[in-house]
Symmetry: C2
Subunit: 416 residues, 2 copies
């Protein structure tokens, strides 16, 4: 029996036993595509098109300005926020949807730093997604702080030495490049032990695995709506502010939507009570309603089961890679231990860019991160083991036949 | 002949001579509604539904991640920005669409203040829309400036005394309450004469009248996409940065989309060249594409003619109010002189809130601004003189019959 035959049998058995398989019908996936880039842009949930038609024709076209009240547009940031809150372990009234992740990071880091006015340091991960690092620098510059870049593994040592000077720590549970999963409880505990505030970037975790921001006592968190939440391109981000911090949340971007009496139209800013004070300006309602419809794909879904299936898929992908790609120049990057793995599987190869492009031509969509990582995002709501195997077979064939060395696969334009 | 008969004849004659009347077909307005709130949320342009269906099904659903390149999502902020630029008199490469007006105000005011590091004052209008004032205060606090609130009429005197200490002036050409139009050229000239930078908030002007930001030498400007641009609820805002300032534009919100090499994923921020450096995070593509489709309603439209029709409609509204509402407690607020009038007509009445609600029940949609202003926004692309007259007749009937004094019209919930 060849490796491929054996893997085919295993995939069939795993898929046959997959209790989540019916969830795939909650998404509209195109024919002929194996979609392994849901960690960059989630697939289209089946509930979205009708929701958008309703939003455009009935709510905007017919309801016009009245829809701010009649269709509760005004409440949408908090309503959608609470829906996301259910997926990250946040009780209602602590999560808000709106703006981009970058803007929400700015709000979270700046507001957190203002809660620790006597501490001069902002700590973040040198391997953090770039925008997290840039925004940390921007906040530090505006507030007169210094940024230290400390890898998660070195954080305990750093905090032992400098912890009393740290105002805020900004980290992500999942490394966006390697897919490595860090220990949120341990890091949160260490940061808070030092008296600093913990700001998590949940972009690569929300919707992919069970999160428990309330139970872990997380201070603030942000995340995006378009990866595992499948809210659409550039879907609004979210901000979580633990209830105990809301009264002290001193917003750096005091837009009128966060005012205690937004229609009183006074010239001085008085923040609203609760999470509403984290609002800024008028949110992009169409994108927000698309995200709200997308989140219904999670209705009745147990994220513990999503996590179990995701680990099965990523583990299977690494098995396929090991069995099928031997001798073709690939190295597995994502940790093998389930507790150290997010919801993507990553391989290293010097020709990553061309390989990803050649794979795309075969209908297998992954992505790459410079300079040499092939990323395969696993959304367990719509993927199967059979697809994972087919993707790895395609990658083997592309690499073995040198298909990716054709001129048209050379690097050109931006690829997200 | 009664006043109403005479006004009816005049409306018919004006509408018959209206060369812009066919533009109404570019919008989908509901039956039985006279829509006088397009200065708060523009009506649905006919091009939007199909564009949204395409964006959802083909671009997102089928194109998936590939649409960032294949459907040029990545370029959308600049492409839509240039389309708005054409309506505000900005040559290409200076206008960017994205985020909310509040966030763009923050960017504009902070970046402008950083270009005048030795000047400690930020000047804004005490009658400015609240978010403009709140954000000015927020920027001043972060950058160590002081905010002075100076009415447009008192600005020359203030600048004569304090001009050399002013870093930035933030004003709006159209007063959002009264509809008064200020002299952009004179104010821009006075501010720049003092060596300060001029930041205009064009929310109530873009799409309503011809603007010439390039010709006037405006430094920076912002505006929203959902009023006269009819881009949909919470449509992305825009930011204009004159080409001569772009190299010095020092972004306070350094998100990865504004990086010179966003996919290089380096940990240090290097701003992109040109207007691209004003980008922040990933924009809400669905809302952005709705705005882009909406802007096609302006294709081939001469804004000078839109302005002429708008003045005819607002002037006619004030005439109707004078003739029909005498003795009912209304006062006209919007200036009579065309050169001092934006694209709305405003009446004062102590029962403004209830009157606007009672009017809405008759299908006449305006809005109110606390405590006592009835605002009637005039979008000349889809309104007629006949509708303006019908609205004022309805208001007369409501007020005369005391219809608005019914219990159900008492103030309750937020109304935008």
């Amino acid at each position: 029996m060849t490796a491929e035959t054996s893997l085919t049998a295993r995939a069939a058995a795993l898929d046959a036993a997959d209790a989540l398989a019916p969830l795939r019908d909650r998404f509209l996936l195109p024919e002929g595509v194996i979609y392994l880039d849901g960690n960059s842009l989630g697939a289209l949930p089946a509930a979205v098109p009708e929701a958008m038609t309703d939003a455009v024709h009935r709510q905007w076209g017919t309801g016009l300005i009245r829809s701010w009240n009649d269709n509760a547009w005004w409440q949408a940031p908090q309503r959608v926020g609470d829906a996301i809150g259910r997926l990250i372990g946040a009780a209602p009234g602590q999560t808000l949807a709106g703006d981009s992740t970058s803007v929400q990071l700015f709000n979270a880091l700046a507001a957190a730093a203002r809660m620790r006015p006597d501490r001069p340091l902002l700590v973040t991960d040198p391997g953090h997604f770039p925008t997290d690092q840039y925004i940390a620098d921007a906040v530090a510059r505006l507030l007169g702080l210094r940024v230290h870049r400390v890898a998660p593994g070195e954080l305990p040592g750093f905090l032992a030495a400098e912890g009393s000077r740290v105002a805020v720590a900004g980290y992500a549970p999942v490394d966006y490049r390697t897919g490595e999963l860090h220990d949120m409880a341990a890091i949160t505990g260490a940061v808070q032990e030092a008296g600093a505030l913990m700001v998590w970037d949940l972009c690569h975790a929300a919707g992919a695995l069970p999160l428990e921001v309330d139970r872990l006592g997380v201070d603030l968190a942000v995340g995006c709506g378009y990866k595992f939440l499948s809210g659409g391109p550039g879907a609004p981000a979210f901000l979580y502010v633990a209830a105990r911090h809301q009264a002290a949340f001193d917003h750096p971007l005091t837009g009128w939507n966060g005012h205690a009496d937004p229609f009183g139209l006074g010239g001085d800013y008085t923040p609203a009570a609760g999470i509403a004070r984290a609002r800024i300006g008028t949110p992009p309602i169409l994108s927000l309603l698309a995200l709200e419809a997308a989140l219904t794909a999670f209705d009745g879904v147990d994220l513990a089961r999503v996590r179990a299936k995701s680990l099965s898929l990523t583990g299977f992908l690494l098995d396929c890679a090991e069995a099928l790609l031997a001798g073709l120049g690939f190295t597995a990057v994502t940790p093998r231990e389930p507790e150290r793995r997010g919801s993507q599987a990553v391989l290293r190869h010097p020709e990553a860019y061309a390989l990803v492009r050649a794979l795309a031509e075969r209908g297998v969509l992954g992505d790459m991160r410079a300079p040499d990582l092939l990323r395969f995002g696993i959304n367990a709501l719509y993927l199967s083991h059979r697809e994972v195997l087919a993707a790895m077979c395609a990658l083997r064939d592309v690499a073995r036949e040198g298909e990716h060395r054709q001129e048209r696969f050379r690097r050109r334009s931006p690829v997200t």
